[in-house]
Symmetry: C2
């Protein structure tokens, strides 16, 4: 009898994957970590029953959150990765020769340790990386204390419930702005533009109210809800939709053409239609609205 792992992507929608083996399970002070070996997507990292990365499609997520801003900032030298304990963002950021310093601010040390142990293709740049500083602790605090220190901040958070919640607040984005150098950018894991639209709209609007330039682009990641993820981006100066340099060689998703086309949003995701609650209404929006009413952020 085959074993299956199911994730409730919303209250009403699920994804299921056939599992070869549960490789690891651990309750940390912050969350429950599970690492499965699945038949279709390879090894997957699951935090509090939500898929964070899979071996077979993680490259889209990591390439798009890093290389879009890094090909647009004139001379990126210092990058802060918020969350991202699996190391995928550090791996991609470290491919850029201009980078001198990468800080990883991850609250849960066990995520880093278990990713090194079980997900070597993702975590490979977490060890023997002279550019890397690992800060185990609350990224909200870390960002609050930083002033004009980074060219890029990547918000590689889990969902806005539990420990990830503070990483979706307007106060946090204000501190991100302050922590960025002139010309800096922030790129954000922005959930599904179909199923989490009220949240996506809020992130975009918050960024636009704080940064001179706020935009959104998308990427196709099969194991995230709706198969597409929104990446809100805030910029102090340059237009993040326009790459300044040829694409790094050896990537699997990102190219200069993909960079530009990722900002071309279908009509139903354009700001004017995003404001219209009647367009493609999903039942899970109600759930999100309930979360919003109860939230303290």
């Amino acid at each position: 009898m085959a074993q299956w792992f199911y994730e409730d992507q919303t209250e009403y929608t699920r994804i299921g994957m056939q599992v070869r083996e549960l490789l690891h399970e651990e309750r940390t002070p912050y969350q429950t970590i599970k690492i499965f070996d699945t038949v279709e997507y390879g090894r997957i990292l699951v935090l509090d029953d939500v898929i964070q990365v899979t071996q077979h499609d993680e490259f889209v997520y990591h390439e798009m959150l890093t290389h879009v801003p890094l090909h647009t900032i004139s001379n990126p030298e210092a990058v802060l990765v918020v969350g991202g304990g699996d190391g995928g963002m550090v791996r991609e950021v470290s491919k850029h020769d201009t980078i001198k310093r990468v800080v990883l601010a991850e609250i849960d040390e066990a995520v880093i340790r278990r990713s090194i142990e079980f997900l070597p293709s993702i975590s490979c740049a977490l060890q023997d990386n002279p550019k890397l500083e690992i800060c185990v602790g609350d990224a909200v605090d870390y960002v609050r204390k930083s002033v004009e220190e980074f060219d890029l901040i990547i918000v590689d958070s889990s969902d806005p419930v539990g420990i990830g919640e503070g990483l979706f607040s307007k106060d946090f984005y204000r501190n991100v702005y302050k922590a960025l150098k002139p010309g800096g950018m922030v790129s954000v894991q922005g959930e599904s533009p179909w199923l989490h639209r009220p949240l996506v709209k809020r992130i975009c609007n918050d960024l636009k109210s704080i940064f001179p330039i706020g935009k959104m682009y998308c990427g196709n990641i099969p194991t995230y809800p709706s198969g597409v993820m929104a990446f809100p981006i805030g910029s102090k100066d340059a237009d993040p939709a326009v790459p300044l340099r040829p694409a790094l060689p050896g990537l699997k998703y990102y190219s200069s053409e993909i960079h530009k086309s990722a900002f071309v949003l279908p009509l139903h995701l354009q700001p004017e239609q995003m404001e219209d609650a009647e367009v493609n209404f999903f039942a899970s929006w109600e759930t999100l609205n309930r979360i919003k009413e109860n939230e303290t952020i």
Copy 2:
């Protein structure tokens, strides 16, 4: 206790939707039709346990398979929809003023009848449509007998197992070529470029070997496997990536910008990487290869 509908998207991957009600179930001479009312995606049409359309995301599929070719052909007048008994393609095609004739070749009359009964927002153009001819029968035969009759043939088939199988063969595409007028095009439901890659490659290669121009574009449809669908397209003359006219007003996904960017494929889907079986290998490819070896088409 909530009811759930599950689709096996591959042998190893499932999607689940919470169901309010099974509205209809019927065994026809060709397949089993089920129509559910789901909480998240509205009403869904399921043939032999595979989701064909959902009320909430069908617009992407139907707009992209029709409006991309119809904005590229100089004066489209006659269109053949192969399959497509739910009426979504007919609805979109009928929006173009130049269209004088739409033929719907659907093998299973019950799909048409039940779509009219249960899916009115999709099937609305199947009734009182003076441009429409409905031919209940085998589209393979219909196409074989047609010579330079259509400006566009849309292959809106189910999956390449059972009754849909003949619609994926090279012989069929040869007959499609013959059935198209000079300047004509064919657009094809091409499955998932992640999970069904051997099949997608075969369709693209077959079209390229028959048509002067063969390309592929994509669209984001949450309820199809991997959240993205490949649309292979063959053209006798014009470049299908270049729209000739401003976009029709009132659409929900398609715009001139989306038209162009839909042809910008991420690196892992570009032909040279598609040929490399080592790039993003999925276990379900093996299953597809087994099907391929046993196939008679």
